[in-house]
């Protein structure tokens, strides 16, 4: 099946003596937005970090467009996949411009900065201010901008709306949708908010290091189990 942009098969990861991920099968097509939901400690962050080459793969494979990236260094992987971590996703004492500048993948075409500022006009105002002076929402916008600046076709977003107000959460998620559509990027986004199902095509449920449920977002949105257990919503 060569039409997956990113694919994981039987992925098994250990950290120290603990088995953190087991037999993960996950794939993303080109231009798709896929959600990864699950409780704290399920292994979402570990999964992302493994894809980026940070943790060692014990069993299984990770492939981009059919070619394996298992065992590849983060430096090389980061040219194809851009990950925005859960916390500390910006350089606090560099300015907005500097943050974007060093994120740019210089081997590709130049300044995407204009496009980023179009999507996030608030950043343009703060262009010479240090990232630590920005509000939570603005910092998240900057992080997204930095992820974009890398010009990768795959984006991994680890709980991008963590700690944000409901209004900000909606705005960020909308921006992500806009980015994904506009630049035809494949996005894997881990979240705890049910709103993520509105912007994704498919969803995987990760619990205890294993994929428990998967399917189309529209269908699973109505599923009682999902709503109650994973999204904490009253049924």
């Amino acid at each position: 099946m060569g039409n997956f942009l990113l694919e994981m098969q039987d992925l098994t990861v250990m950290r120290g003596d603990v088995l953190v991920l087991r037999d993960i099968d996950l794939n993303i097509k080109r231009g798709e937005a896929v959600a990864l939901i699950g409780p704290n400690g399920a292994g979402k962050t570990t999964l992302f970090e493994t894809v980026m080459g940070i943790h060692k793969v014990v069993k299984g494979d990770i492939r981009i467009e059919g070619s394996s990236i298992r065992g590849m260094g983060t430096e090389r992987i980061s040219r194809r996949i851009s990950m925005i971590p859960q916390e500390f996703a910006t350089f606090p004492f560099l300015t907005v411009l500097e943050n974007l500048w060093i994120s740019k993948n210089s081997s590709r075409r130049k300044a995407m900065t204009d496009e980023i500022f179009q999507i996030f006009p608030a950043l343009q105002e703060k262009i010479n201010q240090e990232a630590s002076t920005l509000s939570g929402g603005q910092r998240q916008m900057l992080a997204l901008g930095m992820g974009l600046a890398r010009k990768c076709d795959i984006l991994l977003l680890d709980e991008p709306t963590l700690g944000l107000s409901p209004l900000m959460t909606q705005r960020i998620l909308n921006s992500i949708k806009e980015i994904s559509d506009r630049f035809k990027l494949s996005v894997l986004i881990s979240e705890q908010t049910p709103l993520v199902l509105n912007i994704s095509d498919r969803v995987y449920v990760l619990e205890g290091g294993q994929i428990r449920i998967q399917g189309a977002s529209q269908e699973l949105k109505k599923d009682e189990r999902i709503r109650k257990v994973y999204l904490g919503m009253a049924v």
Binding site: R79, S82, F88, T90, I102, S103
Partner: protein, 291 residues
């Protein structure tokens, strides 16, 4: 007499800055408190001295010494500092073990050096760079050199760190190493290069110190100690702070030795260290580090 004190002060400041530059850089970029930096520079200096005694070409001697220092520095970074730091998950606990490990090396180096070079004291016999008349007094070529190199070592990094993309990336590494890795920065390579530069500056400092004073087995530990004192006073990881403190210490040491007599300079220096830390616990120009 005032000019004598000033000239000596400035050249001393230059050497102090050189010695502390490695400590400051390595701690600033990677958070590694490498106490072996002094002995590393000393080792290179010993190699150069031995080569000079064997009457090899001056350039070759310098090259050999510099190469040795950089090689040893990088090896220690890769095989002692980084493993120790990571073995405890990094952060402050990792740092304490790096301190233990590199201080252990400080104990080890004199033994090795003595065995290899079969001597305790070394005199640096570099060709004279002349003496120049300046401001009612004179200054040797090497004193000028120490001032010049220190200045260059201050101006050039400032430019690199603020104006170039690579330098800004390094600043990024000091603030968030993990994120740097994710955006494709080869953090390990940066640490290696930093260790090499630190070793090189320690070597230059040691050579100049040896030229103006003399070198012995214990000098390595002394360089480390001074390097750390200056670095801590200036604000660990702050190059501007280290420069400021180097100047202050250069003045105090020079004034003490001209006015009171050499033996007290270390005591005065320690007193200044305590005073500075009492009134400015984070150093004179503290850096912001995101651990």
């Amino acid at each position: 007499m005032v000019y004598d004190i000033m000239i000596t002060a400035l050249s001393l400041a230059g050497i102090y800055f050189l010695i502390s530059f490695g400590v400051t850089l390595l701690y600033g970029v990677g958070g590694f408190p490498n106490l072996a930096i002094g002995p590393i520079g000393l080792t290179g200096a010993y190699v150069t001295c031995s080569a000079l005694r064997a009457n090899l070409n001056v350039g070759v001697c310098l090259f050999l010494g510099l190469g040795t220092a950089v090689l040893v520095g990088v090896l220690i970074q890769k095989f002692v500092v980084e493993p120790l730091f990571n073995s405890l998950g990094g952060g402050d606990r990792g740092r304490i073990f790096v301190i233990y490990g590199t201080f252990g090396l400080c104990l080890l180096f004199p033994a090795i050096l003595q065995n290899v070079f079969k001597t305790t004291m070394m005199n640096v016999r570099l060709p004279s760079l002349g003496i120049y008349k300046i401001l009612h007094t004179s200054i040797t070529g090497y004193q000028l050199l120490s001032i010049g190199i220190a200045l260059a070592l201050f101006v050039v990094p400032h430019f690199i760190f603020t104006r170039t993309k690579g330098g800004t990336k390094v600043r990024g590494v000091t603030q968030n190493a993990f994120l740097s890795r994710l955006i494709g920065v080869n953090v390990l390579r940066i640490y290696t290069v930093t260790a090499g530069i630190a070793a090189a500056t320690a070597y230059i400092g040691a050579i100049l110190w040896g030229e103006i004073f003399s070198l012995e087995l214990g000098s390595g530990t002394m360089f480390t100690l001074y390097g750390f004192m200056i670095s801590v006073m200036g604000g660990l990881g702050s190059i501007y702070g280290a420069l400021l403190v180097s100047i202050i210490l250069g003045l105090s040491t020079s004034a003490t030795s001209f006015l009171i007599g050499g033996v007290f300079e270390h005591i005065i220096t320690t007193l200044i260290l305590i005073l500075v830390l009492i009134f400015a616990p984070r150093g004179l120009i503290p850096t912001k580090r995101e651990v």
